[in-house]
């Protein structure tokens, strides 16, 4: 039989399953600090799936803790990537990006650090369609090595990624075969979770249900730690079952300066702060910004460095937008 070689890890659900069988995650309290969670579950060379998209539910506290502890050779995987990936690229901790889109938003235009590294050939940049990456996670979540789709047919994306066709054995129709992605580790920020890792997401799930199922290791951070009975009141909202979870980090405003549905909006001032540094100093500016972040002992210390009325305003605006 003909088999293709991928330019990137993938189509290895079988291995991911064997890893899961060999390392179960029994129901027991999994709460720990971000420092413990990152030390325990993020390793050099990992493919890191970042939960949320763009500036929504970015697991900032967990990401900055990786920066703090330093890792090397990471791949950052996220369908819509914001400046968080640039911090890993500029500091040399990530040398691979898997995404369908990178941009800063808030009127800031192109991602300058990413541009610099891609245009000078210093990182591997893997461009997928949005659905293509979504189906990679979904295949990983379903435990199958590939899924068929119309996505990327005819375009240069599939050609460059060396994707091959999946032929329907009933109709002969040829579709794109998207290889599964089981990230080495996923980081996902949620609104509420219990000590076992059962987690609920309010608003838009994005791809996080699939990311959680696909991941080989899973660290969640949560705005709120709740009793399991709270989850039982609305179990259809539970997107992540505890048996997938390795670590639960309780971190209010854990996505700040990005947004968390129902809790706080994104802090545009923080975007400005970052982008002005990049505008003035290029990737050195991104390194300065990362250095500022990791200088705080932890995310709470970072939050304490922000004017309380600014944080309060972001929370108030978000709460004011909620449906009554």
């Amino acid at each position: 039989m003909t088999t293709a070689t991928l330019p990137f890890p993938g189509a290895d659900t079988l291995d991911a399953r064997l890893e899961l069988e060999g390392r179960r995650r029994p129901r027991e309290p999994k709460t720990m600090t971000a420092e413990e969670a990152i030390a325990g579950f993020v390793r050099d060379g990992d493919v890191v799936a970042v939960g949320g998209t763009n500036h929504a539910r970015t697991p900032m506290a967990l990401l900055v803790e990786i920066l703090r502890q330093r890792r090397t050779g990471l791949a950052m995987s996220r369908p819509l990537t914001c400046y968080e990936a640039e911090l890993f690229i500029a500091t040399g901790m990530a040398d691979r990006v898997v995404t369908s889109w990178v941009g800063i938003g808030h009127g800031w235009g192109l991602a300058q650090v990413l541009r610099e590294y891609v245009e000078t050939g210093r990182i591997d940049y893997q461009e997928w369609s949005h659905l293509g990456l979504g189906l990679r996670y979904r295949a990983g979540a379903m435990g199958v090595p590939f899924l068929p789709t119309y996505s990327m047919l005819g375009s240069d994306l599939g050609r460059r990624l060396q994707l091959v066709e999946a032929t329907c054995p009933y109709t002969g129709q040829e579709l794109t075969a998207v290889p599964s992605l089981n990230p080495d580790v996923a980081l996902i920020h949620v609104q509420r979770a219990d000590v076992y890792g059962n987690a609920q997401i309010d608003g838009y799930e994005l791809m996080d249900g699939d990311v959680a199922r696909a991941a080989r290791r899973l660290v969640i951070s949560t705005e709120e730690l709740v009793d399991t009975d709270i989850l039982r009141r609305d179990p259809a909202r539970t997107v992540i079952p505890g048996f997938l979870v390795d670590a639960v980090v309780v971190q209010p405003m854990g996505a700040y300066p990005h947004e968390c549905y129902g809790h706080y909006l994104a802090d545009e001032e923080a975007f400005t702060h970052y982008m002005e540094r990049v505008r003035d100093h290029g990737s050195e500016g991104a390194r300065e910004y990362a250095a500022e972040l990791v200088a705080h002992a932890d995310h709470d210390a970072f939050l304490a460095s922000v004017a309380p009325e600014r944080l309060a305003a972001l929370r108030k605006d978000a709460e004011g937008m909620m449906p009554q």
Partner: protein, 258 residues
């Protein structure tokens, strides 16, 4: 609809957005991106298409579009609050693949004679001169929606014979090449610019001038196009934008309060 706007300084992008919004029929489903597509949708909803359903890649279906409060991202609270349905980002594209969405709307960095779209890079793919944001949902939208409308400023650097990189497949090399690639549905139907309305000739699938924005000549369009442009036998002129349309557009964009 034929009253010429008397408002001072109607901008080219306003003319373009209004022209695009007029294509949207009532009761249909539109997969919209942030910016111009969303404004065009909001405009259509307040005019000829009150029952247009707007879908966003963040998984939102049937979103609210409040004047001056249009969302800045497809994945943020403002885009979600008031939606009729929230599903996952992957599932929203699977609805597109099933065939549920009448329209997709795309912007471009480059578009070529066959409607292929580039939003990924300028120059050599191995070492691009400019790395752009990439497809986001655009590759899926143009591959899966029943038809896709391209909305862009009309400039020679954007309208090129061959795009540097096919981020989002149009009619590929023309003829039945799109079908032969396995893409059996949809494709670009209209290109709306500040100068003109264009479609794709049925056989060759090359871009063809169909109508001019008021006051624009065929020659102007040709000069702004970086490839040899087909011109329909009859080239009409689009209805001028009206005061009502411009006022409403500015109110939606939060540029005025009236």
């Amino acid at each position: 609809m034929t009253t010429v706007s008397t408002l001072a300084e109607v901008r080219p992008d306003e003319v373009m957005t209004i022209a695009a919004s007029r294509l949207l029929e009532d009761g249909k489903v539109m997969f919209a991106g942030i910016g111009q597509p969303l404004v065009a949708a909001a405009l259509a909803r307040r005019r000829q298409a009150p029952n247009l359903t707007v879908v966003l890649e963040g998984g939102m279906v049937g979103i609210h579009l409040l004047p001056g409060e249009l969302p800045a991202s497809t994945n943020e609270m403002r885009a979600a609050v008031g939606a009729e349905m929230l599903t996952s980002a992957t599932d929203i594209f699977l609805l597109a693949q099933r065939g549920c969405f009448d329209y997709g709307f795309l912007g471009v960095a480059q578009v070529d004679a066959y409607g292929n779209v580039n939003t990924s890079l300028i120059g050599d793919p191995d070492r691009p001169k400019v790395r752009l944001p990439g497809p986001g949902g655009a590759n899926d939208i143009i591959s899966m929606c029943n038809e896709t409308v391209i909305v862009t400023n009309h400039e020679p650097r954007r309208f090129v014979e061959r795009v540097d990189w096919i981020t989002s497949p149009g009619h590929l090399t023309g003829g039945d090449s799109r079908q032969r690639s396995g893409l059996l549905h949809g494709g670009p139907s209209w290109v709306v610019t500040d100068l003109a309305l264009l479609d794709f000739e049925e056989e060759s699938r090359r871009m063809r001038l169909r109508a001019l924005q008021p006051g624009v000549t065929v020659e102007q369009v040709r000069r702004a196009t970086g490839f040899e442009l087909l011109v329909a036998d009859e080239v009409s002129t689009l209805d001028p934008v009206t005061d009502d349309e411009v006022r409403l557009l500015r109110r939606l964009n939060g540029e005025s309060d009236d």
